[in-house]
Symmetry: C3
Subunit: 257 residues, 3 copies
């Protein structure tokens, strides 16, 4: 079992669920591909007016599925394929979706979770959720486009603390940083996310699509989606530092860099 | 009567007043043209060192004058003319003005009001003011350059809630979002706005102009003012959704989209 | 004596100290050149994993060394040389440095101090520190690239108040503005800055370098470092306003603009 992305439609609201509960909804490669295909379907649908994306059970998404990493991360070409096709393919399908997307965030929202949330228009979080991308502990950087996306949405100061300090943030921190639209009491989150989706789906749907298109066009200089680094971007794949971080994690020990 | 923009100069401070009091200072086409011409004069003046822009009576500006909308909104060419010439002509004259502009905001600051405030350098608001652009209830999007301007000044997260959720924000929310420079007690706003203008006009005027020119040049990639969508941008003019939103408003009923 | 920049390395942490204590660590031309050369060395070093930059004694940096200004500011070519070579040479060396930089800010962080802090990745401040760039009182603007850098890091709304209103901000204001990473009790600042540097230097160093490179590449449209104004940028050098501001400061009187 490597997890799944569930899709369900209730009236004009699509419900997308990140589901991989033994791993706190960590994203496997299968899940990235499913996420892309679901958002491509939503974009082509004529009767979806709002999407809610959430995690199964008590977490949004705890990151990437590290148990798969030794299969492909230590070789440059397969690492590039993972980031540019699997991950960015899914994130780009979300960014290219003209239908408003509401993130319903609780529990862990780490790494891949922050990236997925960064593609949403409205971000609602429970008070107890936690945010970060502590991959500097795993010995590798965020891919350039993913880092640009997170920096754009969470702000430079917060993105730098996430990446350079491996800092973890509370929902209150992330509201102050301008990343979250609203922070709710834990027991209000689900109700309020659904109410927000219903409110959005009662508004003019063509206007929403046109607004999303306008903002996307004008953001493109800030997030040059065609910039995916250069031929050296994934050259770190075979480095000792990269292996050490992931091996240490899998062996449940502290890495030595 | 379709409102007016009043201009008055006291020593080196220009006072610009948005005045259309039966409609809470909603902007008519006449007013957009007058706003442009006033800011073009200010830019050419040699003795204005600061501008204060405010609304007549207890509101800043409640939006566009919807009573005029059936005259021109439902035809693509007249809609484009309105946005690109009347509205953007005025906003661009404000953005191109090298003299520091202080917004003195109270009451409603909605739609056009948020756009006008977005062209100001220093934004002071009373605690009870309200901000938003709930045009998704009227069945139409914000024009691309106007959306880019608001997103740049209010931040993406707030702009998305305004446009996609038709959310209305308090002054405290807008201070947190980074849009407002300062929030003041209602009875302190006018005094403090005038004091700020006097403080600015005692500082070096050439330095202010050069600082505004430098920031404008460097912001141009983020607000590509020559990007005004493409030939499809205003094709929504004749859509049923657009008519329904505006008709429902004029008939004082809830629109059905 | 025109001040110095001190460098010291403890294990993998570099300590850089801005030192010009009779002038509260104001930056002289000698100090700008030394700052550049130290950061160029750090960039070429293979064993520095984190830099802490701080001021000698109780201030970070109070601005430029105004006592030198009459030597070069009133002539266009020498003014350009100062901004484009001395100041930008140093700031660019900091921005181009791939090693994470922690700013340890206390006391005055004004003008040049804000610019130096704007080149740091993690900004820690004591609660009592003060921030601003009140050069409009001195009769001159911020150079275009320096203004762009400060606006990017402190936000437009705060940068405009600094430049157009000569406003001074508390650490709490600058945390809210998104400029500061953390605000600490005055007696905790030094300990926490060093602890942060140690935490960063235990994380993967290659990942940090790659993350900094990615963020830098993607920020370049927002901070076009090759944009240094045009041939008129420094034409204000010989203006009466410029002379008046600096002369008044040196004569300890209020300027009349």
């Amino acid at each position: 079992m490597s997890g799944s992305i569930e899709f369900e439609q209730q009236a004009s609201v699509a419900q997308v669920t990140i589901s991989h509960s033994p791993r706190f909804n960590a994203m496997s490669r299968t899940m990235w591909r499913a996420l892309r295909s679901i958002f491509e379907s939503i974009q082509n649908s004529t009767d979806v007016r709002c999407v809610v994306i959430k995690g199964d059970k008590a977490n949004f998404c705890s990151g990437g599925d590290i148990s798969e990493y030794t299969d492909f991360r230590f070789q440059e070409s397969s690492l590039r394929d993972f980031h540019e096709n699997d991950v960015w393919g899914a994130l780009r399908a979300m960014l290219d979706c003209d239908v408003p997307i509401v993130a319903q965030i609780e529990g862990n929202c780490m790494g891949a979770g922050v990236e997925i949330a960064s593609c949403c228009d409205i971000r609602l979080s429970s008070l107890s959720a936690k945010f970060g991308a502590p991959i500097a502990k795993l010995g590798f950087p965020m891919a350039p486009r993913e880092a640009a996306l997170v920096a754009r949405e969470a702000g430079l100061v917060t993105a730098r603390r996430m990446l350079l300090e491996a800092a973890v943030f509370s929902a209150t921190d992330m509201k102050e940083a301008g990343f979250l639209s609203r922070v709710l009491a834990d027991d209000q989150l689900r109700t309020e996310a659904q109410a927000t989706a219903l409110r959005i789906s009662a508004l003019a749907p063509q206007a929403a699509r046109l607004n999303k298109q306008a903002l996307r066009a004008l953001l493109s200089p800030v997030l040059p989606v065609d910039h995916h680094g250069d031929e050296t971007t994934y050259a770190y794949a075979e480095s000792a530092e990269h292996r050490e971080g992931i091996q240490a994690f899998l062996e449940k020990r502290k890495p030595v860099f």
